[in-house]
Amino acid sequence: MATFRKSLFLLLSVALVFALAACSGKKGGTEANDNSPQSTQGAAQTDAPKEKIELTFWTLGNNGYETLVDKWNADHPDIQVKVQNTGDQTAHHNNMLTAISAGSGAPDIFMLEIGFMEKFLAATDNFYNLNDLGAQDLKGNYLDWKWQQASSKDGSFQLGLPTDIGPTVLYYRQDLVQAAGLPADPAGLAAALDTWDKFAAAAKQYHEKTGKYFVDTTDLLHNALRDQSDGEIYLSKADGSFIGDTNPQVKKAFDYTVKAIQEGWVNPSPMWSPEWGQATNNGDFAVMPAPAWMSGVIKGNAPDTAGKWRITQLPEGAGNWGGSFLTIPKQSKHPKEAFAFISWMVSKENQMESFKTNQLFPSIPAIYDEQEFKDFVDPSGFYGDQKIAQEFAAAAQKVKPMYYGPQHDAIDAIFKNALRNVLEKKAEPAKEWDEAVKQAKEIVKRGG
């Protein structure tokens, strides 16, 4: 009994000492950038040594940027960049929002995903205008639609520099398509499926012949058509009002997906579910309309199907899903140095490097003409000997600028739910459509 109290007392004293120590000194963790070989070469610099600047860089997801940053740090002993990575994109952007509203705690460089762009574009006074720092001169290097995603409406304010993009293509299983009597080479298949009507007919035929599904999920099918809208989807670029009920492409995407469900050629498991991953590996479906970065997901989900996949173009154009920008929050005290760093990060060489290491698809059209890029074959042999970079590049150049609006995600989830109800509960499509429109208006109402 007494021993218990003694140990509690001891622990308490230790804890207090520890807490006090933690309150006084520096933070834990070692300052681990003094051991670069450059730091000994201070003598080579002229006169007084420059003040060392440390920049914090919030990155998102697995992008391999750490390796590039190490390279930068080795070459720039006086501008050291510290990477702080978050995996969850919602948390990542909310951290930035909270830092802005708190007025402190923001990094020097923030990686911004396109899905969250509108929120920050509405509050540009919290960021440096990169046009003032020299972004204007870089504009011509990048895809125009990509550049515009991070510009104010009149183009005077540039929030971020483009990193990667996610142009959508059609991934397909060559062997399955061939067995069902469809053309198996990318060009032939693209020609056979160049309209959504032809696509549906082929899908139906495939389903009747093999008894299997043609497309992987309702979600990706819906996305593919939705993203071919003309400049705006659910929300009006002019005044932010809800236009999903009048935009013909939104209705088309909805009706087309309903048709797929009713004709039975779309796989029922939801995207990202374990069953969806398993179905990919089993060959339960033949095609996947998805962005460039989905390549990694397919490889992870379907290791047994290596070598059987190919890539071709979607019917009636391409869309874009995902991709990021590097921005400089107003709280940074070193905008010049931060800009020097980000323009280096998204340079041609580094985008090429990120493509080779992490398949982040570049947003610099000049890269598409590089021989090295054109001849790129996935080293794992997953796509046989297909030069996949060319297919992605062809899609990337077809993408049109698109306005999403701040409530895009929430509204899209409502329509996706409606489709799920049609699929799983055999709900009446017309009723689900009306219900979804009603709910979406409810959400937009709050912004008014």
């Binding site: 919290n126 374990p274 912004g447």
Partner: protein, 321 residues
């Protein structure tokens, strides 16, 4: 706001204070509770006031705030999804909590009886669900409750039915989530009851036996009344916990967060979360929090009244006014 609770509180006659040097005692007591209130002032009161304040403003966390009066409340009360989320929260709370507390009590009493061996083993096993991280638990259950998963296979094998739509059916979703809550918290509450049972002195049972009481009498006349503070504790914490249900449906219905807003599984906190962090409407999110806060108080008071009717010894909240 605390005044209303005091007024509505059904008190018990006060216990005899064992101390009469009033002032010295009081200052000691204040000293003992001060750490909580100091931290509470900084990290508790401020957020609460901030939330109340915010519920009258339109704010997206980065633009300036705009005063809108009661408009945020009007907006959420007009929103059918809000009422769906309220109903879901209550339903899933009841489905997850009521059986859970009964089973927990049963397990604790069984575990506390003298004839059982391997007590420690059972205690550890019952506690396993609660030490597993909630995200991991939800992932495991997501696989069990997938459409071709173990749950459907089991039902099929029992010949009940096959193909329950666990992630989109009105009841399917609720049952799956209620099962997760039940699984996660039953052992925890059993451990709490066990601590309570161990605080009851064995001599009481001895005395009751001499008076000719049988074991059922012992359960209803001694065990349950003396456990009352613990039962009250678990009911209150479960009520609060289930009204703030978030992670299970959130992870179960889609890690990306979009599936989490499915009408079958949306809870009040998910609704709040979506308002704040998906749509950046911090005003309506704050209004939701205020409503949730009031509901929690009302439900807790209802619970207190019901519990106060159970048994008659022990003390409830407070004592003398």
């Amino acid at each position: 706001m605390s005044q209303t609770i005091v007024a509505a509180n059904v008190g018990k006659p006060p216990k005899r204070p064992f101390w009469t040097e009033r002032r010295r005692t009081a200052s000691t007591a204040y000293l003992y509770i001060s750490p909580f209130f100091i931290l509470f002032l900084i990290f508790g009161v401020y957020p609460i006031f901030f939330t109340f304040y915010l519920s009258f403003f339109k704010w997206n966390a980065i633009s300036p705030m705009k005063y809108v009066g009661f408009q945020n409340f009007a907006l959420i009360f007009e929103d059918p999804t809000f009422w769906v989320s309220l109903m879901n929260t209550i339903l899933m709370g009841i489905m997850g909590t009521v059986p859970q507390l009964i089973v927990a009590l049963l397990l604790a009493v069984a575990l506390n009886s003298a004839i059982v061996r391997f007590k420690n083993f059972f205690r550890i096993v019952y506690f396993l669900p609660n030490i597993t991280s909630i995200v991991a638990v939800t992932l495991v259950f997501s696989v069990i409750f997938s459409n071709q998963g173990m749950a459907n296979m089991l039902l099929d094998w029992l010949g009940v039915t096959t193909d329950v739509a666990w992630n989109s059916g009105w009841w399917g979703v609720k049952i799956a989530i209620a099962v997760m809550i039940f699984w996660r918290w039953t052992g925890y509450n059993a451990i709490i009851y066990l601590a309570g049972l161990q605080s009851i002195s064995p001599e009481l049972y001895e005395a009751a036996k001499i008076d000719g009481a049988n074991s059922r009498d012992a359960l209803f006349k001694i065990t349950i009344p003396l456990l009352k503070p613990f039962i009250l504790f678990t009911i209150l914490t479960s009520t609060i916990g289930s009204l703030q249900l978030f992670t299970e449906p959130f992870v179960f219905l889609g890690t990306s967060g979009t599936g989490a807003t499915r009408p079958e599984g949306i809870t009040m906190v998910i609704y709040l979360y979506r308002e704040a962090f998906t749509n950046s409407y911090f005003g309506t999110a704050a209004a939701t929090a205020v409503v949730l806060f009031l509901f929690t108080i009302i439900f807790s008071l209802i619970n207190l009244m019901i519990t106060n009717r159970l048994g008659s010894s022990g003390s409830s909240l407070g004592g003398a006014k």
